[in-house]
Symmetry: D2
Subunit: 314 residues, 4 copies
């Protein structure tokens, strides 16, 4: 199928895919550890696809606004690479999936030298946040926000304050992780300052289309295909996409690689950023999560699409 | 670069790549847990590439014969899928990398339901071996051997008896794994019979070119590009290549995916099977291993080639 | 209260204590992993106390015959000390409680040098069995049996064959433990031979009174107070009683030390061997087990008695 | 030997025991994670014994002042029992040794319900500190200090400010533990406030004789034998002494129970509080620690004394 034919078919059928996957939401649960997240509509499912010509397809609850949560880790990781370089970043985080829960501390205690296994588990993402350049928390957070605005092309992106505050105040487990890292010599900055920045970038509010646009830049190797501007060095995109395959969907990443086969990153708000290399950026939202913490209907619709259109990288 | 140009350049430079990586062998150690393995030449490095026209490039110590060891797990996994189907296989092994050592038992004890996380760690490979069809150990082992001969196109492939016997007799840790699996209800057959088959397929002796040919079939989605014959269903190749990315290089798979970006499977004898999808099957041997158990010079030469020829899937 | 008064009070009230604790059996479950154990009466509770004059008090289901199971580990440990000496024994097993399940393998993998933490967890008891002197399994098993007969004063003690065979055949987890130990260099002998001996001593059939008599010898520091004969060196009894406090009741040993405060060893058949130093040997049986694997009513009656008669060592 | 004879012999020989054990200090290392602790004299060893008549024997470096560190956990545990009662305390901490390092977080993550296994590991002691009655950190800390003064009979006991501040500021791992507990619902109060109190009681400065006097009260079941005043309910002393046997010497408690056989609690400053029930309170200091974190010479001298005078409880 040519890409044009595929686009046409997508245009005609995307709504049906979303309809077909929507009932899957019944098998999941909306995250409820903070009130703001618990308010998300349980049965929502939305998807947005953008191609290199800047055309966008949308289906389902695409107007739903949600916070990026762990999806933001993709871009703090890239920004840390751009700020510090590969060597500095990989001195503090590893390159391996863990097989453990995203907030597990087992390997920090059991495996020398006690650095996070990868940048996408919570421990790794906190270490990455600490590496973002900036004089203070405000400047770091602002630089991340500017980067997200630039990649998404949406200068209106902003931190959702209620979510940021609520997470910051209840984040005992992340504080525990951060102090463990501090003790292991992984963090140079003050824990509270790092978590302040961390929860701000997790709380940036987006829609599926914002996510699709961000993904599009990754799908085109770091170049915004619409403006033609290079936003990210190609090698950093390559590294990031690799992590998105091996570690992007928490400890269901292996299954997602087999069943969908696309680089992806999910967040606890039910968002998924994924992409078909050289073709599409994709944003999905479906707040009901499966036991592994991924959007249950979001994974389902991606699996259906990938199988039908033969999108797997493998 | 067209594929033809690439092939020409490979032809002219492959020897230089091997020469350049050979000194890396000094940083590794040959496996010595059985005498047969310890005899392997420490400073050897060989590579064989085969393209879809059946042309072969060789460089370095390509005449070196070695036992497949964990490389055989790729094909027992495929054969189990062909014998039993996806559902039966994934009832007994998971789809996730572990972050633990290849012979670790931690997750079997700690993570419900106590099945191996994936088919390439030892526990998973033993479970897979138990699923191979056959009335008894001899028939199972024979069916595996026939499958390996068919995929490699080498009807002379055979089990190296000294290695098989030696491993079978000293395999306390694998016996421990197998009995744990038996206790968890993962294995239906008798442990000794399963391990008998397991050590026989690990001990099949090959050269780089045999491995390259096997990899070529995977690179062409299960079809032998020379004969045009389909040997493996495409979906099973897709699943297998995905596992080769997420779990193929022990718990250095994540790093290999970032640094090389190709589906691969290594063995303790220093062999690596890898492939460039749609283009080449590749066999590498370099008995000196790094701390993660992969051929130190083999990984190095693949990293150099992948970077220069831009082979990464990502 | 003088010991005489205590004995009189015990004589008058022991039946009432047993009656009072019997209903606790409803909160437990009889072990059912082999058919022979599952046949034990769920609501039974029996206790036998013997004092230094050889007088015995019995109450409840004292006629019930049961296999020693883990209670036998007390005496194989002592026999190994007598056969090999302290240094040899503690080269292969440690002196620490684990906090893990009795059949856990976590610390064997995680904690150098991979020897069992103590002689009463399964891994430790298997290592201990391998140290019993004897040309072959038969002689080792016979020496253990003779030792048990001697300490119990019951020359009729014998292995219950159905239990031994049944355990031997279904012991996948213990085989897994044993092969792990073999791999770690803890076991010198053949795994099957060691487990053969192990399951034989676990299957020695006794009554409460046999256990009370064995305990009495420990209560008197290794001397049979009736014959006056020293059966065990005092130092080995001291070491053993210490382990009975820190590790005797699986990973409920700490709670038992607080609530009862006596050296004790339990078995999966519902037996408990315990003692009041210098005064009584005590045997208890109550097949219904709590979640930690100890006789639920047996622990209850001992707690009541210890509290009333102020028996805690602490 | 009568107690009088023993006292006379102790009087004549205690110096020799200390001299004999002093060279063991060469095998240990002084804790150095904060500068104040690192200043302690490496080769010091002191011991103080007090009997029920208030007589004191001293030998070695008894004038050495040191901070209580983990020894204080004995008395915060008792005070929490007195403030809250057994049920409330054991709702938040368990009764079992862990087999893990004193600051390990493994079992908090792996074992339901995620409460500390016992009150003497760091996690447990932090939970205990949070249960001390008091309107705020100052009042809690003051109540603990008053209790320590009362039990030691030394109204001059005070917090060593440099140690308290230094520990408070560098306590990343303890903060990590505390936030993990907070996340598990074990701590009700604010983490910083709890740690403030925690580090203050750890930093109370004492001598061997202060410790011996505190131990004496435990040796006499909670009654100060000199004044005849009951300071602690007997049951709480019994519970505490049991924990001192099973968990008092970090994860060398099992070995200490076998080799010395007395209830004891050690601290990272090299102090040990121990006791011979009904006879002596004992304070030891020797800043050079073995790998398990206990005073290397302190353990040695206690082992020698216990063996010679047959002090083991077992």
């Amino acid at each position: 199928m040519t890409n044009d034919n595929e686009w046409n078919e997508l245009q005609n059928t995307l709504h049906r895919y979303v309809e077909g996957s929507k009932k899957e939401t019944a098998r999941g649960r909306v995250a409820s550890y903070i009130p703001e997240l618990a308010k998300a509509p349980h049965d929502a499912l939305g998807i947005s696809l953008m191609n290199g010509d800047g055309q966008t397809l949308m289906a389902g609850d695409c107007e739903l606004r949600f916070t990026m949560q762990s999806i933001s880790k993709v871009f703090t990781f890239i920004l840390a690479l751009m700020d510090r370089g590969e060597d500095a970043v990989f001195a503090k985080v590893g390159k391996e999936p863990t097989g453990d829960d995203f907030n597990s501390m087992l390997k920090l205690e059991l495996v020398e030298p006690g650095i996070p296994f990868n940048p996408f588990i919570n421990a790794g993402a906190i270490a990455i946040t600490s590496m973002i350049a900036g004089r203070d928390a405000d400047e770091k957070a602002e630089r991340i926000l500017q980067f997200l605005r630039r990649v998404s092309g949406n200068s209106g992106l902003a931190v959702k304050d209620e979510v940021y505050r609520s997470e910051y105040e209840t984040a005992h487990r992340n504080r525990s992780l951060a102090y463990f890292l501090k003790d292991n010599g992984v963090l140079e900055d003050d824990v509270d300052r790092i978590l302040d920045v961390y929860f701000r970038h997790c709380a940036v509010e987006v829609t599926c289309s914002d996510v699709a646009k961000m993904a599009l830049v990754l799908a085109y190797g770091g170049v915004d295909p619409i403006s033609g501007e290079r936003l990210i060095p190609r090698r950093f995109v390559q590294i990031t996409k690799t992590f998105m395959i091996t570690c992007g969907m928490y400890n269901a990443s292996g299954a997602f690689a087999i069943e969908v086969g696309l680089p992806a990153k999910s967040g606890v708000s039910g968002g998924i950023l994924t992409l078909v290399p050289g073709r599409y950026g994709i944003g999905v939202v479906g707040p009901a999560l499966n036991r592994k913490g991924n959007s249950v209907a979001g994974v389902h619709v991606l699996q259906q699409l990938s199988e039908h259109f033969d999108w797997s990288l493998f």
